[in-house]
């Protein structure tokens, strides 16, 4: 498609309007983009929004896990997808923490993922302590199994026997230092994947596909994925291999909205904020710190995308003018 495109040259005064429009120098575009994606960060806007079905399914699934249960969380993101994944991770963890659900963290995506996840949990804990809520304790509430260099391998191993796959993995137990994760109370009697009520994959990489290939049908799987993974994940969602997912910033914004407003819960004005035929009333966490990356970045995104669309329009207008000129 790009075959016959001119490589944009700096504008020469002699150029006709059409030429100018079809060959804006890249660098100018870049400067404008930087402006458009920075300026709105300083102004506080809220955007009206309607959550996608998949996001509602994800929220409902998270809210359906019983307190005291232990869920698997595959945290496969690092700072390179911080923009989306960090917020998604925070929202998911906030829900689980508030509902007193225990978490087993493992990663197949990136060697840094476990550390990044733990840092985020530390931040969330600060927030909890500040609000006078109990700390979400390592070992008693969550253990970190660490990173598996071959995701395909580990996931496949988990399909047959989780305990065998996690064999030799250690985490910090208070007073005992590094201790075999399976000695943690939250992993008691959970040796097979079937013993876990839910597996949540928070990923910025392809590990999600592997998970579905190996584990679908053995345990309910939910995803939060980056926007780019959206379509593929939708594929699994549509064919019922996963129970729900949030994709990209939109999914995150949905999730934060759902946490604030719940599902089929009447808001202050008595109007139900988020309707769903699929579910009865699901409570939210009104008033609590639900707003995160989603609420901050989503409005800004609108400006950036607007710029993109504008650029495309300009290019096409220029092309048409050029054609006219040719005739």
């Amino acid at each position: 498609m790009a075959k016959n495109d001119p490589i944009p040259q700096p504008i020469k005064p002699s150029m006709s309007l059409a030429e100018k429009l079809t060959s804006l120098p890249k660098f100018y575009l870049y400067i404008i983009l930087i402006f458009f994606s920075s300026a709105p960060l300083f102004i506080n806007v809220t955007v009206p929004n309607k959550p996608l079905e998949s996001s509602i399914d994800l929220y409902a699934t998270l809210m359906s896990v019983k307190p005291g249960e232990t869920v698997l969380v595959a945290s496969d993101w690092t700072n390179s997808t911080r923009g989306e994944s960090w917020g998604q991770f925070n929202s998911v963890m906030r829900i689980l923490m508030r509902r007193g659900v225990n978490v087993v963290l493992y990663s197949t995506g990136d060697a840094q993922a476990p550390r990044v996840a733990q840092d985020s949990i530390a931040k969330l804990n600060k927030e909890r302590l500040a609000k006078g809520e109990p700390e979400y304790k390592r070992w008693e509430n969550f253990v970190s199994v660490g990173f598996f260099s071959s995701g395909e391998a580990a996931t496949n191993g988990m399909a047959t026997n989780v305990k065998a796959t996690f064999a030799g993995r250690k985490d910090f137990a208070p007073g005992r230092g590094l201790t075999d994760v399976y000695e943690s109370p939250i992993l008691k009697g959970r040796e097979k994947i079937e013993n876990f009520p839910l597996l949540i994959v928070i990923t910025g990489s392809k590990t999600s596909n592997i998970t579905v290939e190996r584990l679908s049908g053995k345990v309910p799987i939910a995803f939060t994925v980056t926007g780019v993974m959206g379509p593929e994940t939708g594929n699994f969602y549509q064919s019922g291999q996963i129970v729900g997912f949030a994709s990209g910033l939109k999914g995150l914004y949905d999730l934060e909205g759902l946490m604030e407003n719940g599902v089929n819960v009447p808001g202050k004005d008595g109007q139900i904020v988020i309707k769903s035929e699929k579910y009865p009333k699901i409570d939210g966490f009104p008033g609590q710190p639900n707003a995160g990356q989603g609420s901050r970045y989503y409005p800004t995104l609108h400006f950036a995308v607007a710029l993109l669309i504008l650029a495309v329009i300009i290019g096409n207008v220029g092309m048409f003018l050029a054609r006219k000129g040719a005739k």
């Binding site: 498609m1 790009a2 075959k3 490589i7 890249k26 390179s80 071959s150 995701g151 399976y182 008691k188 009697g189 040796e191 990489s205 392809k206 049908g217 053995k218 780019v228 993974m229 379509p231 593929e232």
Partner: protein, 311 residues
């Protein structure tokens, strides 16, 4: 199934249907490889992106600038990387004949090993081993964006005239493509990740979509084995198509009969009518696709020296 009965329904867990289906696919491929080996010449349709390879290398030679190749970002050496390296072997062969410098950037040490081995062989076979510089096949980084930074740096500094991005590409795809485009290099690209293909389409001159990538080596080398396998793949695709169409007919008629059943039959069958909406969705085809996970009690001797499980 015979085996299933012989071993006490143990296929309940794996689902004999899946095994059978896969077996058929495998047979199709093997049969056709045999046919092709038997000297039956088989037709392959034109694939535009691949005809461009010669043009690209030729142009690079005219300009006396290097050809850059990236065999994707596979975590370890897998068939995708092998396929890419196979295509690059063809490219290097041309480049070697024209005495054109090449650059092959690897993301993974195992792939790097394979590439070294293969590309050197190519120069050897061409009797041009003196022209081969081991550093032309190099390991850049096995960290996605460090690799991206490194390769785009190379593209800009070496002013490559032709670039080939074939294999597993993720987000970094567009970084390569736009960088190469900005210096006017002619690009042939393909990602087995469908999600990256649109970006290649936007920024590259020729793009192999999805399966065309796997067809490439057959198309270029015309090895009977590869051509045969390609035909076999087509048979497999037809089988998939067939099953989809058949399944659609079955499901359609099934749902028709299910939903037009009288309520009494319904109650007799399901007790609770509200079951119906599920059962209507749970069509026969779905049941075949998702093997039963029902456990059956099996009498087994106990392991004397079994570890005491903390239960």
């Amino acid at each position: 199934m015979l085996i299933a009965e012989a071993v006490g329904q143990q296929y309940r867990e794996t689902g004999w249907f899946g095994v059978l289906f896969t077996a058929i696919l495998v047979t199709f491929i093997l049969i056709n490889i045999r046919r092709a080996k038997g000297g039956k010449d088989l037709y392959i349709r034109r694939i535009a992106g691949l005809n461009a390879i010669d043009e690209a290398v030729g142009r690079a030679t005219e300009m006396g600038r290097p050809v850059l190749m990236v065999p994707g970002l596979s975590d370890t050496v897998n068939a995708i990387a092998v396929q890419a390296v196979n295509i690059f072997a063809y490219v290097s062969r041309l480049a070697a004949r024209f005495a054109n410098p090449i650059l092959l950037c690897c993301y993974n040490a195992a792939v790097y090993t394979l590439a070294q081995e293969v590309i050197r062989d190519v120069y050897q076979e061409e009797g041009l081993l003196d022209r081969y510089d081991p550093d032309s096949v190099r390991f850049v980084s096995d960290r996605q964006f460090a690799f991206a930074a490194g390769v785009s740096g190379l593209i800009l500094r070496e002013q490559t005239a032709a670039t080939f991005f074939l294999g597993e590409f993720y987000a970094e795809a567009l970084i390569f493509a736009e960088t190469a485009n900005s210096i006017g290099a002619i690009q042939v690209a393909s990602s087995t990740e469908a999600t990256q293909t649109p970006f290649f389409i936007a920024a590259c001159d020729y793009v192999l979509i999805g399966d065309e990538f796997y067809a490439a080596s057959a198309y270029l080398t015309r090895q009977p084995v590869l051509v045969g396998s390609l035909v076999g793949q087509d048979w497999c695709k037809l089988l998939v198509l067939g099953s989809i169409l058949l399944g659609t007919l079955v499901n359609t008629s099934y749902v028709q009969s299910r939903t037009t059943k009288s309520w009494d039959d319904e109650k007799a069958e399901y007790g609770d009518v509200s079951e119906r909406q599920n059962s209507a969705k749970q069509s026969i085809v779905q049941q075949l696709a998702t093997p039963l996970l029902s456990k059956m009690p099996v009498e087994r001797p106990l392991d004397p020296n079994a570890p005491v499980e903390d239960k």
